[in-house]
């Protein structure tokens, strides 16, 4: 599929394949139907020239009716059903089943107009977030509660770094309005809705850099609400995580909980 961006996800192979045959099918249906229209026009023009006298309408014979109407309709219906059935499995594995146990867990937060990615750290528990503490300039864009022990080792990053070959469980949330989390290279899209937690599972396979976009109009910066996914090897992922961990703990240690200076409004 030369139009799609290169695929980097495990399920993307199936996805590309499915999309490919779907597009092929409708493309040929499109071509045939347009040809039929043109053909009808040409035939009519010729008939008009050759026999100016009108013929009385022939009642359509029953076999002809079957052949020209019922059969194509059945065929097309069968095609639609085939499309739906073949793609359903993909939907089921990505959305209707629980994620793998050993999945890398990352929380994605959409904010007007940026994406933030939070790794739960060694304790594998996301720390508590307090909306009132949100203060991006002061380095706390998500409002991590410094008093919560779980939040001390949480890593917040503006880019998403994932190891290749391991299942990932994304937890989607939004701070303000609806955003659309879209990684074209991973064939992945889901809205981040404020007040709701969404989940997305996939397995990145091919190391590389993939853009992350926002696909739900969310305000004037919607078009530049972009981030990056870097798929790296497992070992590089571990070392990155470890270094960020150290950094996170260090900063958490030296600036003691100071109430962030944000206004609040009921």
């Amino acid at each position: 599929m030369k139009w799609l961006p290169p695929n980097g996800a495990l399920h993307g192979i199936r996805f590309d394949h499915l999309l490919r045959w779907n597009l092929d099918a409708i493309f040929w249906l499109f071509v045939v139907s347009q040809i039929l229209i043109v053909l009808a026009m040409l035939l009519a023009a010729r008939r008009r020239r050759s026999s100016p006298a009108a013929r009385p309408p022939q009642p359509q014979s029953f076999p002809a009716f079957l052949l020209t109407s019922v059969l194509p309709l059945l065929a097309i219906t069968a095609l639609y059903i085939a499309m739906l059935v073949t793609s359903h499995h993909l939907w089921a594995v990505s959305r209707e089943q629980a994620g793998a146990r050993n999945a890398v867990r990352v929380e994605v937060t959409g904010v007007q107009f940026a994406w933030y990615f939070r790794y739960p750290g060694d304790d594998r528990v996301y720390g508590k977030l307090v909306p009132k503490l949100v203060n991006a300039p002061a380095g706390n864009p998500l409002g991590l509660d410094p008093n919560d022990p779980h939040s001390r080792d949480d890593i917040v990053s503006p880019i998403l770094i994932l190891p290749a070959g391991r299942p990932v469980d994304l937890r989607l949330r939004s701070q303000d309005v609806i955003h659309g989390f879209f990684i074209p290279g991973m064939r992945l899209k889901q809205d981040a809705i404020p007040g709701m937690i969404g989940h997305l599972q996939f397995t990145p396979e091919v190391p590389g850099v993939y853009p992350i976009l926002c696909t739900q109009v969310c305000g004037l910066g919607h078009g530049r609400m972009q981030a990056e996914l870097r798929v790296v090897t497992e070992s590089r992922f571990r070392s990155w995580l470890a270094s960020r961990e150290r950094m996170a703990l260090a900063t958490a240690a030296d600036d003691e909980p100071s109430p962030a200076p944000v206004e609040s409004r009921p």
Partner: protein
């Protein structure tokens, strides 16, 4: 068998009384058409702004300057709203029925003329309020024609979400009331004012479409009205139907809330999907009728078409979730909505196949309305076929809100819809002016529009496959693949300019033919349905669409009407 006709019109009410503050449905039809024309002109200019900005983002617009990102979003929002509501709802669902519906069912007036007129004035008011959004502080809303909350519920989320959004909501509210009122009138007219002999089995297919779409309108627009009322309460009365518990908007934490933004999505699309069928069903009915007329053959499978129309209308109420596959709705619901959506594609395909079959049966005449009908079919197929792809949740998870969707709905709604409007206008123009529109200009208009439209909207599929999202003012950011789309975008813009320029031919034709067009005579298309009946008080004698050499005695068609024998003077027909 010509009945005496044309007593002089009511004297002494003056131009205003007769043409403006009127309850006559044909005068209202003209008013609606003018309103649609105003809206389509604004909407088209906005679409050109969109197209130009996308490829030359730094070129200043005359009188305005360089577009800011929020201006772009405002333009897109207003473009979508104007086109969907004031063009593709007002013209096929209000103007056309006012023009021909009473005549087509063999009667001479609507069931409730005053209600009908009131609906027009409300629609006009709604239009004015909507356009006013451009001129309020901070300008028009930026949240798209779908206005998802919380963006649309909290003024602080962006420019235009204050007064502009209020205008939008208010306009939509007025529009809903008007739409329900006029549909109630159409329903009562179709069900209870049919003329003598006009049984259900003899209703023209356009009337069946209007019956279906009017029923849909009552349901869909009431839903939208309730949703808009709730959104209004959220904005101004401190409620939180759609506002979640805690939010941080421009650095300010808000608590309270606890509502569900998803609820709006459900309500909006429960309106939105029926709405797209409201805008296309009349076109589908018209296509069948015109195919019959211009191939001089009866409609194939009249009953099948009626059943298909009703089925589409009915199923249309149960597919709204296909706009929400990736919104975080329950994934099982996604599967179910995929299924219902495929189900609705089947009756649509049945209609398409019937039209194709009709093309091969008769002796096609390439008049302008016929060409536009062919264009309608072509676009309906081109746009409709991507529907079953979008209907698969797994594939939509990539394609949602990309230009693939934009291509889908512009082909099926914008182009098929607008082409059916053109077909209707070229066809019914003699009813308005007594003249035909110029055929040469009409054909030029058709071919340039056809090529322009495919040139504009076909390449959008590729942009969509490349992942280009909607509502992006510029293709910027870390996405390497997007710059390679610039040539495609540029081509689209040139095609769109051509397409819009072609409409100038149409406008010229409309206005010049009103004076200089060929006189149409009694029944220029030799049609069978009642709107072409030369007399008054017709009686229906049979099915619509009886065409073919055997149908009439001397003509190749058998009109549906039969005129009352002239009565001896002074005797009322009773």
């Amino acid at each position: 068998m010509n009945a005496p006709r044309a007593q002089p019109a009511a004297p002494s009410r003056g131009f205003l009384g007769r043409r403006i503050f009127t309850t006559d449905h044909r005068a209202l039809a003209i008013l609606y058409l003018l309103l649609g024309l105003a809206a389509v002109i604004v909407g088209t200019l906005l679409s050109l702004v969109i197209r130009i900005h996308r490829v030359w983002p730094t070129v200043p617009f005359p009188l305005y300057g360089i577009l800011r990102p929020e201006d772009y979003l405002a333009v897109v929002t207003m473009h979508g709203t104007l086109m969907v509501f004031f063009v593709l709802t007002v013209v096929p669902q209000s103007a056309f029925p006012n023009l021909v519906l009473p005549a087509q069912i063999g009667t001479d007036r609507m069931a409730f003329p005053r209600l009908n007129a009131a609906a027009f004035w409300l629609t006009l008011a709604s239009f004015c309020v909507l356009v006013a959004a451009f001129f309020v502080p901070q300008g028009a809303p930026i949240s798209g024609w779908t206005s998802y909350p919380p963006l649309s519920a909290i003024a602080a989320t962006g420019p235009g979400q204050g007064a502009g959004m209020d205008c939008w909501l208010f306009a939509i509210g007025l529009f809903c009331i008007a739409a329900v009122a006029s549909s109630a009138n159409f329903l009562a007219t179709i069900l209870a004012r049919r003329g003598p002999g006009m049984s259900f089995g003899r209703l023209p297919l356009t009337v069946w479409s209007w019956l279906t779409s009017s029923a849909l309108t009552v349901i869909a627009f009431s839903t939208l009205f309730a949703a808009a009322a709730m959104l209004f309460a959220d904005r101004h009365c401190g409620t939180s139907f759609f506002i979640p518990a805690s939010e941080v908007i421009s650095g300010i934490a808000r608590t309270g809330g606890g509502g569900s933004p998803l609820l709006w999505l459900h309500l909006f699309w429960f309106f939105g999907h029926p709405e797209v069928y409201i805008s296309i069903l009349p076109g589908m009915g018209l296509a069948s009728a015109l195919l019959a007329n211009f191939t001089r053959r009866p409609v194939l499978g009249y009953r099948v078409m009626v059943v298909a129309t009703l089925t589409i209308g009915f199923l249309g109420l149960g597919v709204w979730g296909h706009h929400m596959f990736v919104s975080g709705m329950n994934p099982y619901a996604g599967t179910a909505f995929g299924l219902t959506t495929i189900a609705i594609a089947v009756p649509s395909s049945a209609e398409v196949l019937t039209w194709l079959a009709m093309l091969f049966r008769g002796r096609m005449r390439f008049t302008t309305p016929m060409l536009f009908t062919l264009g309608f079919i072509s676009f309906f197929i081109a746009g409709g076929l991507t529907g079953p792809i979008l209907a698969q949740p797994a594939l939509d998870a990539y394609l949602h809100n990309t230009f693939f969707v934009v291509a889908h709905f512009h082909l099926v709604m914008a182009m098929a819809g607008v082409f059916s409007l053109f077909a209707g206008i070229y066809y019914w123009y003699p009813l308005l002016t007594g003249r035909l529109m110029n055929e040469m200009l009409g054909k030029a208009h058709f071919w340039v529009s056809l090529i322009g439209a495919y040139g504009t909207f076909f390449p959008m599929h590729f942009a969509g496959l490349a992942g280009e999202p909607r509502h992006y003012a510029q293709l910027a950011g870390p996405v390497e693949s997007f710059p390679s789309l610039i040539p495609v975008e540029r081509g689209i813009t040139f095609a769109a300019l051509t397409l819009a320029a072609a409409q100038l031919i149409f406008l010229f034709n409309v206005f010049s033919s009103a004076r200089k067009g060929v006189r149409a005579g009694e029944n220029p298309w030799r049609a069978t349905t009642h709107e072409w009946c030369p007399g008054t008080h017709p009686r229906t004698r049979g099915e619509p669409y009886l065409y073919g050499p055997n149908s009439g005695d001397t003509e190749d068609f058998l009109p549906q009407w039969e005129l009352a024998p002239p009565y001896p003077s002074g005797l009322k027909p009773e």
